[in-house]
Subunit: 171 residues, 2 copies
């Protein structure tokens, strides 16, 4: 079973790939805004519903979910990023900082974390996860929720992107 | 390493849980439509962008991605579902059929499929995956893309749902 699925494989490269895809999508949105002479803030503050988060917050939470999950699986302190981004470039910087942080982990720091105890405070209440449940039942779905919603906000507002941009290189 | 992450754990229960969450979301949408006296078709045909798929198609592709991934990992024929749903109840039936199909798999049918060769025809071209890459680089992100987009279409159209409905029971 030398090729058996590991916690590293199911987390770090998945987060990195999807964050790089999100970065490429933001690059397209930046060009679109410039070509159409639309202020970036129109996209950055756009929401799909009045009580959903705006685009910038979707990117912030996606990066938070990725760095939080990997840091906790490794038993490290979660780095704190100020949520102050107001331009596409600042959001790109946040994504790049997150990707560099994720790339700093070696497989042996994450592997074997299946049954680690991870306690998160969610909506004010502590939730106790195993490492495995945290990754599969919370972090991956939550991360992909926010990447998809960021994509959907841009798509809803006319940016010419498609599923291939979301999925990126497939193999 | 007896508790090591397996291909079964990273696929079948994740798909089942998120499909059950989607079903509960559709139950809320059904009640909302009835309370507000809005035809179900308004939601079922709703899109976030003119060139994105409507709600029904999002649910169809989410179920297709889940059953296709698990069938292929097990080396089984992928069951074919007619894409004819036009009501919330018919979409619920499709989700329940998919969940029952996924529940029919035993861990030993999926485990050890990390390096199986899986060839998919995507946008007309054959793409060759390992089992692991098919799950992590295609099926999970694609599945969660469509579940999130289905959620976002309902949310955009005023259905009172939130992140707890999307994530479901966390542990």
């Amino acid at each position: 079973m030398t090729n058996q699925l590991t916690m590293y494989q199911a987390s770090v490269p998945v987060f990195i790939k999807m964050l790089n895809n999100l970065s490429a999508i933001i690059t397209k949105a930046t060009a679109h805004a410039e070509a159409k002479k639309i202020e970036q803030s129109v996209f950055i503050n756009a929401r799909l519903s009045p009580d959903m988060f705006a685009f910038a917050r979707q990117v912030q939470i996606a990066t938070d979910t990725a760095k939080g999950c990997v840091a906790r699986l490794a038993g490290n302190e979660v780095p704190n990023y100020a949520d102050t981004e107001t331009t596409f470039q600042e959001l790109q910087d946040r994504i790049h900082t997150t990707v560099a942080y994720l790339q700093s982990f070696k497989p042996e720091q994450i592997d074997g974390s299946e049954d680690n105890t991870i306690t998160l405070k969610l909506r004010g209440n502590p939730v106790v996860f195993t490492g495995k449940n945290n990754l599969l039942g919370f972090a991956l779905p939550n991360f992909l929720f926010h990447v998809t919603t960021a994509y959907a906000i841009l798509r809803h507002n006319g940016v010419d992107i498609g599923k291939p941009d979301f999925l990126g290189n497939l193999t």
